[in-house]
């Protein structure tokens, strides 16, 4: 049952002041790894080369994860550094400075495996302590970080209700004793948490486990009505927002406990990679976006203030089919309406391996099965410099689910098809009848499954939606029946209607803000692994 306001106020009455136990972890080895990866990211970002920027984005993502999630210090870290290629190739491509940073990062990534991640040690000790005292506690983390927390306790699994993953989870939780949070307090991006953690606490003690040099966001705990938490005394004119305010927020008492290797010198604000990465991503031409997760592996990114065509299955709702704002009027449990107009035959609930995808995926699976290293080498040589190329290829081999899994970039797809040596003859089609290269037809097929047709101006949105809504209203009972039973379903448009094709409905699993993304990826179904790189 969701918490009541009375329970929250009773709690606040009993706890007019709360405490932060900040465990600040110092590690010279991890510090060296951080510093050198940061150097590599900075240098790779300076150039105009898209491939380099993509590599930088992957490294940025990895390091952001290490700083905000209690990952195991294992070979995966070294593998991440190795994804740049071998040392000689790195130097040949990016120069001496990057090579040096690469060598040092490899050294640190190898050495770091000698001991357990101290963040994991702290979490284990803390939870054991809380358990022994019979106190109620929760962990705030991203859903994808959960597995790392769970792996700390193989013999004493964490309770299902121990995790909070979203502002909605936090909003509904009953007051408890301690909140465990890894990483700095940030309102957006990696390791983000709701401002309400500070401005509206539901717990007495915040146990924060954070790497040195990762300060909290300056205005975390923002309340537009009150003075900002931790604001310094104003020396100039007092902002209007603070003139008429009586601030009655809870008082926080912070206690910093330094843990680990005192020779680590990264503990300065300049060492804050998360802030550095945020500024890097701001500098590029990106747009803010909200992620609407539609299944376990896929989501759609919408720009701010998007009016999304949706269906609400709640009984007695006035307008079940309507435009809604993600995170505002569009909430978890509703359905995103995804038209597949003009689609010839994309199968029932699956995107299906269309004519072209069937051919290239079959070829790719064969090559990846029998000569994986050779395939990866050729893809790299031909310009696909993706980090974890192996796992990307594995992903592309997967049968179609929500979409046809394929490279996100058109250039990469072209390369893939070239390396697989597929052309019109190979596919059995007549090249005379087809004027464009084979890969372009295959790319169109992928794009169609991703909904690009809808985005590319092929149809006029509003007119289409108006007609679509009218058709869907006629089929409301069928849609409502399906919605009771399935998270994803499809409704065919009757053949006598002006629009042709089908409409797919995806139940919204979660909604998350805090992404900066290129325009080209907006309003398209994209796998969550890819989306992670745009988390701020």
């Amino acid at each position: 049952m969701a918490v009541t306001a009375s329970q929250v106020f009773d709690f606040l009455d009993r706890h007019p002041s709360c405490s932060i136990q900040r465990y600040e972890i110092h590690s010279a080895v991890f510090g060296a790894l951080r510093r050198n990866i940061r150097t590599i990211v900075a240098r790779l970002n300076e150039g105009d080369d898209d491939d380099s920027k993509e590599v930088a984005a992957s490294l940025r993502m990895r390091l952001s994860e290490w700083l905000t999630v209690p990952v195991s210090f294992d070979g995966a870290m070294l593998e991440s550094v190795y994804s740049l290629g071998d040392a000689k190739a790195v130097e040949a491509r990016w120069g001496r400075e990057v090579r040096l940073a690469y060598d040092l990062a490899c050294l640190a990534a190898r050495k770091i495996q000698d001991a357990e991640n101290p963040a994991r040690t702290q979490i284990r000790d803390m939870i054991r302590h809380l358990r022994s005292e019979g106190r109620e506690w929760r962990i705030y983390c991203h859903p994808r970080a959960r597995i790392h927390f769970e792996s700390i306790f193989p013999d004493a699994p964490l309770e299902a209700g121990a995790f909070l993953h979203s502002v909605r989870d936090y909003r509904d939780v009953q007051p408890f004793d301690a909140l465990i949070k890894v990483g700095p307090l940030r309102s957006r991006g990696w390791g983000s948490a709701p401002d309400a953690v500070l401005s509206a606490p539901r717990f007495e003690t915040l146990v924060q486990i954070v790497w040195s040099g990762c300060p909290n966001e300056d205005d975390f705990g923002y309340d537009p009505v009150s003075e900002r938490v931790g604001a310094e005394a104003a020396t100039g004119p007092v902002p209007i927002a603070e003139q008429g305010v009586v601030h009655r927020a809870v008082t926080w008492i912070q206690n910093v406990i330094r843990v680990g290797d005192p020779s680590d010198t990264i503990g300065t604000p300049e060492g804050d990679e998360l802030r550095f990465f945020y500024e890097l991503s701001r500098a590029s031409e990106m747009r803010r976006a909200t992620l609407v997760q539609i299944d376990e592996q896929d989501g759609i990114l919408y720009p701010p203030h998007s009016q999304v065509a949706t269906f609400d299955a709640a009984p007695s709702i006035d307008e079940p089919i309507s435009y809604r704002l993600p995170g505002e009027t569009l909430t978890e449990g509703m359905f995103v309406i995804w038209p597949l107009l003009g689609a010839a035959d994309l199968g029932a609930l699956q995107a299906g391996e269309g004519h072209y995808s069937h051919i290239w995926k079959k070829r790719l699976r064969e090559e990846f099965r029998y000569t994986p290293n050779d395939l990866l080498r050729r893809l790299k040589e031909d310009g696909i410099e993706l980090k974890n190329l192996r796992s990307c290829v594995r992903q592309w081999c997967r049968p179609a689910s929500t979409v046809i899994h394929a490279p996100q970039q058109r250039r990469h797809f072209e390369t893939l098809i070239r390396v697989l040596a597929i052309d019109h003859d190979a596919s059995g089609s007549s090249s005379r009848a087809l004027r464009r290269p084979w890969w372009e037809y295959a790319w169109s097929e992928i794009g169609h499954a991703r909904g690009e047709a809808i985005q590319s101006g092929m149809q006029e949105h509003e007119i289409i939606d108006e007609q679509l809504f009218a058709i869907l209203h006629d089929r409301l009972p069928e849609i409502q029946r399906n919605a009771q039973m399935q998270d994803v379903f499809q409704v065919e448009i009757p053949s006598d209607k002006p629009l042709k094709g089908a409409v797919r409905f995806y139940r919204v699993l979660s909604i998350e803000e805090g992404f900066l993304v290129p325009d080209t990826i907006l309003k398209m179904i994209c796998d969550l692994d890819t989306i992670e790189q745009w988390r701020v």
């Binding site: 306001a5 601030h247 009027t329």
Partner: protein
């Protein structure tokens, strides 16, 4: 007076509820000498907006003549001049919908059905109700129930005036959640008061027309999702907006450009939503200054609630 939330045990009215009702009363008490804007920031999801609206309503119950009666005839007159919309009325004795016609040459207002034509005069106007709205005046015996509740809510305020229980009033308006009217209503329905042996929930006590049909209404309702106001009398003095989106809509709505506005938000939302409010406050700073008088009147706030009061310069 006892209080219960979400079927919890009965208890004395808690401090936060008392604060919100009194704040509503204070906001309802402002003299119209410059528009005021207020914000109440809550630490959690709650029925706070409804409680503030209840406080404002309670304040107006104690003001003699705080109702829509005097303006009713004038409003019908104005509607009769409009060519762009058809207006229908109902009468408390005659059945059917009557279409409002333009004034005739002698200045009389006429309404008609297919079979009957009748004149509306200032002396009989209270028998006429705009179709879909609450009656301006309750018929004998159909006045508002729960009088004791309103009186007990604020002992130290003026006693409610009896005649107000029989007249609708649009001085206070509640703007519901942008997620839908039903969301606000269900939250308010979970907040109950017990006075002697009787129990009433907040959604009933607010007397919103669609939620308590068949009687007069002393709180107008603005659907922030559809932008529909249940009766646009032009008499709204205070709008209480439930949630940040409703607040942002109301502050820009033409219907309320001269009304005071109190937004009730909560902080357990994404940063973008908090910042949207912050940006709006910064923008308002060009024309508004801190209203220290109001701020003093509504203090002290319970721990966890922050407030802001601004007044047009």
């Amino acid at each position: 007076m006892q209080f219960s939330e979400a079927n919890g045990p009965w208890r004395a009215i808690p401090g936060w509820v008392d604060f919100l009702i009194k704040s509503g009363s204070a906001w309802g008490d402002t003299i119209p000498n410059g528009r005021r804007i207020g914000l109440i920031s809550m630490p959690c999801e709650s029925a706070a907006a409804g409680l503030v609206a209840l406080g404002a309503m309670r304040h107006r119950l104690a003001i003699d003549g705080a109702n829509d009666s005097l303006s009713h005839f004038r409003r019908i007159e104005q509607l009769a001049t409009r060519r762009d919309v058809e207006t229908f009325l109902r009468h408390d004795s005659y059945r059917g919908r009557f279409r409002l016609e333009s004034k005739d040459q002698s200045g009389l207002l006429w309404v008609r059905t297919e079979t009957v034509r009748m004149a509306i005069l200032p002396s009989n106007v209270h028998g006429w109700t705009l179709d879909g709205e609450a009656p301006v005046q309750a018929s004998q015996g159909a006045e508002l129930p729960h009088r004791d509740f309103y009186e007990e809510l604020m002992h130290d305020a003026g006693k409610p005036i009896l005649s107000n229980f029989g007249h609708s009033d649009s001085g206070t308006c509640l703007a519901g959640r942008v997620a839908g009217e039903s969301v606000s209503k269900s939250l308010f329905a979970g907040v109950r008061f017990q006075c002697r042996d009787y129990v009433a929930d907040l959604s009933c006590l607010l007397t919103i027309q669609d939620w308590s049909p068949g009687t007069i209404s002393r709180v107008a309702f603005f659907n922030a999702r559809t932008g529909r106001l249940d009766r646009n009398t032009g008499l709204t003095r205070l709008v209480v907006a439930d949630g940040h989106s409703a607040f942002l809509k109301v502050i820009e709505a033409a219907e309320f450009r001269n009304s005071n506005v109190v937004g009730v938000i909560h902080r357990a939302v994404d940063r973008d939503k908090l910042e949207a409010i912050g940006v709006k406050i910064e923008n308002l700073a060009q024309w508004y200054a801190a209203d220290n008088d109001m701020q003093e009147r509504i203090q002290p706030a319970p721990t966890g609630i922050t407030t802001l009061a601004l007044r047009r310069r």
